[in-house]
Symmetry: C2
Subunit: 302 residues, 2 copies
Amino acid sequence: MILSNRLSASRYLSEGKKIIDAAVLSLLPQQDAYPDVIHKAMHYSLRAGGKRLRPVLVIAAAEAVGGDRKAVLPFAVAAELIHTYTLIHDDLPALDNDDLRRGKPANHKVFGEAVAILTGDALLTQAFILMTQSAGMKPVPPARLLDAAHEMATALGSAGMIGGQVVDLESEGKPIDAETLEYIHVHKTGFLIQACIRCGGILSQATPRQLSALSRFGAHVGLAFQIVDDILDITGNEKKIGKDMGGDLTKDKATYPSLYGLEESRRKAESLVEESVACLQEFDGRADPLRDIARFFVRRTF
Amino acid sequence: MILSNRLSASRYLSEGKKIIDAAVLSLLPQQDAYPDVIHKAMHYSLRAGGKRLRPVLVIAAAEAVGGDRKAVLPFAVAAELIHTYTLIHDDLPALDNDDLRRGKPANHKVFGEAVAILTGDALLTQAFILMTQSAGMKPVPPARLLDAAHEMATALGSAGMIGGQVVDLESEGKPIDAETLEYIHVHKTGFLIQACIRCGGILSQATPRQLSALSRFGAHVGLAFQIVDDILDITGNEKKIGKDMGGDLTKDKATYPSLYGLEESRRKAESLVEESVACLQEFDGRADPLRDIARFFVRRTF
């Protein structure tokens, strides 16, 4: 059972990654388009690898409610652009000051700080260009597109993801309590993951009941994934994760393992994933990729 | 005639500014909302003044085709958030390194670089939250909202405004030709102004013919305003403009006056404005505010 989850999740993810990689190239301006420095910098960070987890979740959520992956592809790509924008801005000297990302020099190390700031801005903007494009490969009603774009924007705003980044910044070097840590994780990581899942549903005409189940699934999974990231930051190896290891510890950042220990963190992630899968009980086999991906990601920690 | 233009433009602008100032406060998260540092920083830069020219152009373009100002208010506010985001990121040490903006310390001088980067990100995101909000004060069809949001996003992207910023950055300290200077001005300033004018029209059910006229009007006016800014950067006084004077000269940036001289630049701006007004010849008296604002802004240089 575990093996079969793992196989099917990893097959779905690698197939999804191929689709997304091709779509990213076709939905971005060419890297030699004028002015080429910004387009080279956008392509550099997007080609640096990554699992394409967020776009695959958009597709998996769409398929879970009977939607068409082609119809959600511009949104799926937008999710990856948004994720990449947050990494580029996070890595800046004024923020986390990380030199390495996905095993390669961070954007600001290659292109300089000014271009890195503008590259993040350009990727966020390009995401909205894609999300508001009504001439998609298969038309989704404009009202649904608008709702999904609004959902995504709200998840990313000052009361969402950016709120999480600000509290994270402010908490560096200070002892923080469990409530603050959960706020950071839910906002900084969870909101985008939940929005990806909800947008997949919204664009695929999910019913309010299905959307509510996807929301709960997304909330649990988003927090679980961040706990897993915290665990891997301690137990993983640099090559596999592709960033400076123990970075959060050296920056004196609170994490789940530092507050609860490794074992308890693993239990927490595992139980969140089981709760998330339980939210999908009314869904049929078309939701298996969502279920499998959720379990797969948490079991990376064992 | 000139006096009456000036009076009516300045009345329309000051009335518009009041409407926008109130709407900004009602459409942003409160400044003490958690996490308060980001909301204080957003409010700080938005309350620092400014003529609210871009949002007033959204309203004036809407009214020029018989639209309702209430229906375009969220978009008008979004335009001001976008303008403010670009100022905050432009002023960062890695970019223009300006300490003063609108007569007050720049955002990064008050809140630090990290928060200033996130404040810009948050304002751009909040703009898209507003532009994709279907529950407006007066409903506009979702397809029109989507088109307008797409128009705005495209104007701001790597082939639009950010493209202009990148070429501007790369041109510092180098001799540039007239073509490059026009690229910078059209992209860095003109595209947003033109998008404001087009969005006002799109949201107000402008016909394709009206929209095409508004586009041409916006293109001429956008370039004219930037030439005027270049002129005022030399001839204005610091208190009136509210930023370091001669900043562009000390940074060895090419401007219209440095390439063409003051007199020729004034002539160029004046002729662009007359061409812009000519684009509106099929519009009735409801387009007078647009015409008056265009002339008013250019005559500031005399």
